[in-house]
Symmetry: D3
Subunit: 241 residues, 6 copies
Amino acid sequence: MRPSHRSPNALRPVRITRGFTRHAEGSVLIEFGDTQVLCTASVEDSVPGFLRGQGRGWLTAEYGMLPRSTHTRSAREAARGKQSGRTQEIQRLIGRSLRAVVDLNALGERQVIIDCDVLQADGGTRTASITGACVAVMDALNGLVARGVLPANPMRELVAAVSVGIHDGQPVLDLDYAEDSACDTDMNVVMTATGHFVEVQGTAEGAAFTRAELDALLDLATAGIEELNGLQRAALERDIA
Amino acid sequence: MRPSHRSPNALRPVRITRGFTRHAEGSVLIEFGDTQVLCTASVEDSVPGFLRGQGRGWLTAEYGMLPRSTHTRSAREAARGKQSGRTQEIQRLIGRSLRAVVDLNALGERQVIIDCDVLQADGGTRTASITGACVAVMDALNGLVARGVLPANPMRELVAAVSVGIHDGQPVLDLDYAEDSACDTDMNVVMTATGHFVEVQGTAEGAAFTRAELDALLDLATAGIEELNGLQRAALERDIA
Amino acid sequence: MRPSHRSPNALRPVRITRGFTRHAEGSVLIEFGDTQVLCTASVEDSVPGFLRGQGRGWLTAEYGMLPRSTHTRSAREAARGKQSGRTQEIQRLIGRSLRAVVDLNALGERQVIIDCDVLQADGGTRTASITGACVAVMDALNGLVARGVLPANPMRELVAAVSVGIHDGQPVLDLDYAEDSACDTDMNVVMTATGHFVEVQGTAEGAAFTRAELDALLDLATAGIEELNGLQRAALERDIA
Amino acid sequence: MRPSHRSPNALRPVRITRGFTRHAEGSVLIEFGDTQVLCTASVEDSVPGFLRGQGRGWLTAEYGMLPRSTHTRSAREAARGKQSGRTQEIQRLIGRSLRAVVDLNALGERQVIIDCDVLQADGGTRTASITGACVAVMDALNGLVARGVLPANPMRELVAAVSVGIHDGQPVLDLDYAEDSACDTDMNVVMTATGHFVEVQGTAEGAAFTRAELDALLDLATAGIEELNGLQRAALERDIA
Amino acid sequence: MRPSHRSPNALRPVRITRGFTRHAEGSVLIEFGDTQVLCTASVEDSVPGFLRGQGRGWLTAEYGMLPRSTHTRSAREAARGKQSGRTQEIQRLIGRSLRAVVDLNALGERQVIIDCDVLQADGGTRTASITGACVAVMDALNGLVARGVLPANPMRELVAAVSVGIHDGQPVLDLDYAEDSACDTDMNVVMTATGHFVEVQGTAEGAAFTRAELDALLDLATAGIEELNGLQRAALERDIA
Amino acid sequence: MRPSHRSPNALRPVRITRGFTRHAEGSVLIEFGDTQVLCTASVEDSVPGFLRGQGRGWLTAEYGMLPRSTHTRSAREAARGKQSGRTQEIQRLIGRSLRAVVDLNALGERQVIIDCDVLQADGGTRTASITGACVAVMDALNGLVARGVLPANPMRELVAAVSVGIHDGQPVLDLDYAEDSACDTDMNVVMTATGHFVEVQGTAEGAAFTRAELDALLDLATAGIEELNGLQRAALERDIA
C-alpha cells in the first residue's frame, strides 16, 4: 500500500481555478492534493535583446516557493541574493515545456512570462506548475485573440506533466512529499495532448533502475497525463469565476 | 468624492482567513479590498547569533510581492539577486511593529519569523501585512501555549495598521492604489489595541502638509485601527476552517 | 536631567562649513555636536532612464558611514557587497526630503546626486544629512544660475530635519547617541522653512506612545527646525572659505 | 548521412588520459572527439555541515567551461559573479550520477569533490564529464585504499554517460555540436556498468517525440555506454603516464 | 616645467592631523596638497579564523573613495555591490606595507584594521594612505602600551610611500592628478625609515622605461620618503589637538 | 643551494605549445616547469562602451585558476560569486603588459580578450601567463593580417615576464612554489624584447630589501627575459601542430 492510500495509478484530487488573481493576463491556482501553485502568465510587448527585430515571440518562466510553503521554513531566495540550482532547473523546465506547444512565430514580437509560485508544497510542484501554467498561458493568449491582437491562438495543443516513481517495488503515479522521499526512482514526464513527449527526466535517488521499470513508469505517466489534459480542458470550458 | 466611492472614514471590506496554508504555525490570508497578503508565522527553536545564550526570544519579518501581484509585472527580487530598498523598509517596519507587542523575554530563546507575501496588490500592502501578521503570530504563540511550551501567550495586545492620506484636500482612510497615487500626503499608522502608537510615518509625496492636516489624519487612522482590532478579535474567535 | 545636560529644547552646537571639498558643485560639512557628515551635491547632465526625454530633472541621494565613524568599527558596506536596510531607508528619506523643495520641472533634464557620508557618528546622522544636504544642493543650484544654465534657482524653500524623543518621560530635542539609546520613542521630523511637514517618522523603540506625547514631540521639533533654518540661512550668507 | 559522417551508432574517438595534472588525487583528461574535459577528484577530510558527525561521506561536483572553449567566447562566470542555470544543472547531474555508484557510508566522514572543466567544447560536455569523472574518482578512491585509509574501494561499479538524438528522423549516438544543433530531440543517458539507469533526460528541442523514438534512443544509448565502460576499464588498467 | 610648478624633487605641502575623529584608536587626516585621506586604525581583540589560537596578531587594511572625492562623481562601491580591482589592489598594498613594519608576534592575538577613506583626490591617494596609516597605527599601538595591554610598541620602524614619474623626460616626485595623467611611467615606492624597500611598483602607462630611468626614479623616491619620515616624526611629537 | 637545485640564474624548462585548442584565434599552452597555463586570445569586432566610435581598439585580460590546479583545492571563484583581489591584480597586470606592446590605434575598433587559465600551478603563474599570452596575441593578430583585415601586425615587439627573489641571501631566477614560499623578497618583472621595463613589482614578504638587492634582482630578471624572448621567437617560427 502506498503511503497516500491511493491506488498506484490514481492522481491526487486536482483543482484548477482560473482567474485566481486579477492583474495577470492569465492567472490559475492549481492544486494537486495539498500542493498549491499560483501560475500567472504576463504578456509584454517586447522580447529579450537576443530576439529583437526578428518578428518572433518568446516565452519564459520563473519559479519560486514561498518560504513557508514547506514543512520547515526555507530561506527566502530574494534575501539570500540568489536562486538555488533546483529553482533554476525547474524554471528552465517549465519554460521549455510551454515553448514546445506555442508557435513563437505566430506570437509575434511579444513575450509571455510565466510565474509559478508555490503557496503550499506537498510534492510535485514542478509538474503542477507546468499543468497550471498551460491553462494560464492559454487564457492569456485567448485574451490576445479576443482583443484582436492575434488572429488565432498560437498554442498548438495542451501540455501537462506528472511525476511517477517506484515505491517499494511498485510503480506509482503522482507522488506526494512522503512518497517522493520514500521512492528509489523519481521521474517527471511532460507530454502533449497528442501523446508526444516533451521531457522525460528520470533519476535514481537510490538504486538505479531497469529498462522494464522505466517502461512501466512511462506507461503510468502517459495515462496520468491524459487524465490531466481532460481536467485542463474542463477547466477551460468553465466560466472564470 | 474619493475614487473608490467610499466615505472618507470607510475601510475597504476586510477579510481575515486563518489556517490558509497548513505547514506554518500561523497562516493568515488577509484582504483589504483587492489587496491580498498571505501572512505566515514560523516558530524556530533558535535565535540569531547576537542573542544566543541570553534566554530571550526574537521576532523578525520578511516581505515580498509576487511578480504579477501588480498591474504590470515587476521583476522577481530573487532573480535580480537583491531586495529593493522599499522591500527592506517594509519588512523592517513589520518586524518592529510586532516586536512592540510581544514580550520577547517571555518568548524564551526561540524565534518567530513572519513572512508576508503579497498575492495581489491594490494599495496598503504594508498595513494589511501588519494587521494580518498579528493574527498569524497570535495563532503561532497560542500553539506554543497549547503544546505546553509556554505557560502564557507572550503577545501583550493586538496591533494593527492602516494608511491615511489627503485626497483632493480631504483626509481619507485606507487608500487603494488609485487613491494612493492621487494623494499628496500618505501616512501609515501602526497602533495597539489600547490606542498607543507604535509607528507614525507621514510622507509628503507632493505638497508638504500642515499640522492641522496631520492631526486630522491621525484622528482618522485611530478610528480605523479600532475597527481593524475588532475584526482581528472576531477572526480569532472563529474556528479555523 | 538629560544625559547631555542640555535643556530639553536645546539643539547641540551646529556648524555648517560650505566648500569643505573642492570638486563637488556643493560641498558642506555639517556638525550636530560630535556628529559630522560630509554632504556633497553633484550635478549631472543626464537623468535616469525612466525620466529620459521628459524635460524634467531628478534628485537622488546616497548615504554611507565610514567604518570607524562609530564607537566600534562596522563592516564596510562596499566590502560586504551590499547596503544595509538602514542605509537604504536613510538615503531614500534624504532624497524624498530634498525633492519636496526642488521644482524638478524647473531643473530641466539634469540630475542632482547627493552624497552624505558620515565621518563621525553621535546620533542624528540622518537629520544632519538632510539639513546639510539642503545647503549643498542650494550651492550647486546657485552655481547653475551663476553659469547661466538656469534662469532661477529651482529650490522653492529650505528644508531641515531634527530628531526628538521621550527621555525618562520628558520630550527632548536633537538626541545624541547616548540619549537615543535611552529613549522609548524616537521621532525624525523633516520640515520646510514655511512650517510644512515633509516627513514625520515616529517609532516606539520600547513602550508605545500616546497622542499627547506625539503632540509634544511635534511642538519641540517644529521649534528646533526653525532654529536650524536660521543657521542654514546664516551659513548661506557667509562667503565660502 | 549525419553531419559527422559517422554511422548512427558510432561514438567519436574517445581518449582517457589519467594523471593529466599532478596535485589532484584523481586527474583525468577525457576527450570525446574534439570535446576535451579535465576531470579532477579531490579528497577532503571533512564533510559539509549537514552531514557532520554521522560517519558518512559525501561526493559533489562542480563544472565550468573555459571562456574560449566554445566557438565564440562566453563570459567568464567568475567575472559575471554567478553560475548560469545550465552550469548548475550540469554540476548537479554529475554529482548525482557519481553518488549513485559510490557507497557513501563506506567512504567514511570525508568528501570527494569533482571538478569538470571544459578545455574545448564540441557537444557532449556533460556526458564526457561524467564518464571522465568516474575514472578520476576511481583513482582517488584507490589512492585511499593504497594509503591504508580505506579497506576497500567504495565505488560499487563504473558509471558512464552518452548523448543520443534524432537527426533527420534517424536516431544517432554521441552528438557533436553541429549534430546537437540540428536535432529535434536530445537525450542524455547515464547508466551503470551493470546496465541500470541512473538518469534519463530527454528533451524535445523542436518537435515532441514518440514512445517509439524514445525506445530507439534508449537502445542506442545502452550500447554506447557499454562501449564507454570498456574504454574506462582499459584506461584504468594502463599505468599512469 | 612640471604642471604643478614645483621643482622636480619637491613634495606637495604635507599636513598630518592626528585625532581627526574621536572613536578610532588612531585617527589621522593626511593631506598631500589637495589629496586628503582619513586614515583610522581600529584595534580588535580577535583575529581572523586562519590565525586563531596561534598567539599572533594581524593587520589588514580597507580603502575607499567618497563618490565625489574625484573631479566627476564615481559610482559608490557599496551601491554597485562590489569593490573595483583598483580598490582591492590598493588596500592589499596598504596592508602589506604596514605588516612589514609591525611585529605581529609581539602584537598578540589581536587585529589592527586600517581604514583609508579618500575625502578629496588629487593623485597619490595610495601613497598618502600608507604614510598616514603609519601614524594612525602608531597612535593605536601606543594606546595599547599606555593602557598596559602591551609592554612595548610592536611597530619596528616608520614606513612611508611616495609616487614618482617621468614627466616630459624628467623624473619628478609626488605626482598630482594632472601630472599623473601626463606621465609615461608611474612608480609607487614604499620604504622604511631605515631606507629599506617594502614595495616598488613601476608601471609604463605609455612608453616602457629604461634601467637608467628606473634608477633615477628610485633616487628621487628615496629622498622623498626620508622627508616624509621626518614629517611623520614631527606629527607624532606634537600633542593631539 | 636553491630548493629546485637549479643554478641561481636558470629558468625552469619552458615549453610553448601553439594551437593547443581550436576555437580561439590564438591558443597557447605555456609551461614553466610544472606550472601550466592555457592562454587564449579572442578577437571581437566591438570595443567596450567607453571607447566606442573612436576608431581605436582595446585589449584586456582575464585570469583564473582551476580549483585543483593547486596543492589543496581552492574554492571555485564562479561558485563563490566573486573574483579574489589576487585574481583581479593579476588580470589587470596581464592586460597592461600586453597593451604596452600593441598599437591600439592600428588595431582599429576591435577588441582582443586574453584568457589565462592555470591548469597546474607551481609558482610563477602570472609571469607564465604574460609570456604565453604574448604568443597567443601574436597568433591572433597574424590571423587578422592573413585574412586581410589588417595591413600589418600591430604588435610592436614581444613582451615577457619572469619572477626573481632572494632565497637565503642569494638572488635567484624564476621561483617555483617552494622557493616562492621561502623567499623574503619576490619581484615580478615584465620587459619588452628591446629591454625596456613595462612593470617592476617588488614586494618584501619578510625583511625589506636594499637598493643593492633590488639591482641584483633586476640584472637577473633582465637576462631571464631575454632568454624567454628567444623561446617565444622559436615557438613562433615553428608550425602549429
